[in-house]
Symmetry: C2
Subunit: 363 residues, 2 copies
């Protein structure tokens, strides 16, 4: 079945530019009326970050902070914030992209000084908090890149490619998830699920074994922790194309958390709503799989064990009994296994046996 969906990239773009403009207008209006300009935004301090079981992610509480140009200590961060909004507006209207690092250096072109990279990153996060959009919406992209492969036809909106279409099976090594893909419209797909995979080797194995055809899947390579642009891309596949999402990672606390961040996000992004896919499923490698499939393992080291205890207490891991069960099992067997461990049964065992079993189990 071919699913067609017109998403709303263009509509969102104009909302983003609109929000930047109205932020600027507000500052102007205050100045014009003879007031010191000021803004309120939710506080991002630890005590104001709470897990919301309904949204299944961290959110910010009721506490807010006020920045006022009347306060001498606020003048600098307030000015930096206004500059960040101006720079983002410039990026968006000129349709150029940037990185956090670039923002830091670009400031110098405007004689706007930041003490260090951390200070400029914080101001960008302030801007996200004030406007409710993520920095990728302002064309500020992560340095990291991951990839995708599968039957999804996209239509570009970036300059020079407007209206051009690409089917994401065009290149069998996968295409990069960057600004052009992220800002494209999703046109149609025959896929009925998304499979996200932690590692490049396995991503290639899945393509070679035609997982995209056999299981009607769009394959996403997270390449370790998924970059934010990739998390947003997965969310869009779920929301706009109604595709359920399965995540396959290594069988250890780090793999578990790669899945969790795709599902429920991070405390750092408690002020954002568009990065997570709460309905996505962690489909393995579970501690139970290590036992049931008699996988070759390595012992958990001290750092792994410490991490498992941290995850056990984390509110995101209270959501679904699966997490607690598997954490306990990891702590009991004190072993971990990589995805490649299935190769002990032959290179295609993971695709022929494990994958269909797990897709069924976590449907």
């Amino acid at each position: 079945m071919v699913k067609k969906r017109k998403s709303s990239v263009a509509k969102k773009k104009s909302e983003i530019v609109g929000s930047l403009k109205s932020f600027g207008t507000k500052v102007y209006d205050q100045l014009y009326s003879g007031y010191f300009p000021s803004i309120n935004m939710p506080s991002r301090s630890t005590e104001n970050i709470n897990y919301d079981p309904h949204l299944r992610q961290f959110i910010l509480g009721d506490k807010s902070v006020r920045r006022s140009a009347r306060n001498i200590r606020h003048v600098k961060p307030f000015t930096q914030l206004v500059w960040a909004a101006r720079f983002s507006h410039e990026l968006a209207s000129q349709r150029k992209t940037s990185t956090l690092r670039d923002v830091y250096y670009s400031a110098q072109a405007y004689e706007m000084t930041f003490k260090d990279q951390q200070e400029s990153n914080n101001i960008i996060t302030d801007l996200e908090t004030v406007l409710g959009f993520s920095r990728e919406d302002f064309n500020i992209f992560p340095e990291e890149r991951s990839a995708v492969f599968g039957d999804l036809t996209i239509e570009y909106t970036v300059p020079g490619y407007e209206g051009r279409k690409l089917n994401l099976t065009s290149h069998p090594d996968g295409v990069m998830i960057g600004p052009a893909l992220t800002s494209s419209e999703f046109v149609s797909t025959t896929a009925d699920k998304v499979i996200a995979i932690e590692k490049g080797g396995l991503f290639t194995r899945f393509i070679e074994e035609n997982v995209h055809k056999k299981f009607n899947a769009v394959l996403v390579l997270t390449a370790g922790q998924a970059p934010r642009a990739t998390r947003h891309f997965i969310r869009r596949l779920h929301k706009e194309m109604d595709l359920p999402v399965h995540i396959f990672t290594d069988g250890d606390p780090w793999g578990m958390h790669i899945a969790m961040v795709i599902i429920s996000g991070s405390a750092n992004a408690a002020h954002l709503r568009e990065l997570n896919t709460p309905d996505a499923k962690w489909s393995g490698v579970w501690a139970s799989d290590i036992i049931n499939y008699k996988l070759p393992t390595d012992p958990l080291d001290e750092v792994d064990i410490k991490r498992l205890y941290e995850l056990q207490r984390d509110p995101r891991y209270q959501e679904n009994p699966l997490w607690q069960k598997e954490i306990k099992k990891f702590l009991r067997i004190k072993r971990k296994a990589e995805q490649e461990a299935f190769s002990r049964y032959g290179l295609t065992y993971i695709v022929d046996e494990y994958l269909p079993a797990k897709l069924e189990e976590t449907k």
Copy 2:
């Protein structure tokens, strides 16, 4: 001008399979004639690795090692080597790819034991040394992936895509350099140079600013140290399409060495000849650029300085006076700068001013 070139991927594939077969035949013949099978291969011990100024890379000297099934201590590594050849032959004939990690686990499917990953990696390097092909030729690929964008039309040879063509400007975020791209034939290009770039953000900037058109360039993202498959890909672009190669990295010893490994390779791969591009040029960021362009900098830390002294003594850095000059300058100014530092003059300065100047300077 459109350059067309038929490369020889198919011919090379048959040479590789042929070399694996003749290795097996040799072992069989020895057994059949009543001899303990044995092999000789060049030694990879440190004292047998020498820098060759003519080839402009490390090579192995005259010392060789002998592995004989007659020697009880050799029986295990000899058997492992024969298994590795068999497994590689299986990969090549079934046209499946693998990773070093996968090889380690796959061995267990054949009841072939390796003590650890390091032991199986070493055996694969032995196989490379015996046969003179790199593990990528045996379909054993790195986990890391980098990307390419530009006017190069390729023709796939992988199953399901045989004969299909793709122009590498199809996706404006870039396409991944994986097994399919690496094993494709290069059909034609209008480009007259290759520009390799260390960082993802800048790779995107170059695409957005139409560097591929303005400078007739194929753009390669190395994403830090270039994976071996990417180094081989750059070499092929140089050899098969006659394209000069320019490398742009951060202005620090680590960026310098990213360029050097593309140019002259590493001591670890002294037994291989197909990974390096000795004519490629490191086009910046030089210490001189930091001074001339008055770039924002960070101080060199102790590790940077230690590294610069190591590079100073390295024979690869004796080749061209540029290296020694720039190392000395780094040590004198005690500062480093990232590629993004050019953004202090505006986002497009690097493309409008710096890039054309450096391409001219390192022609």
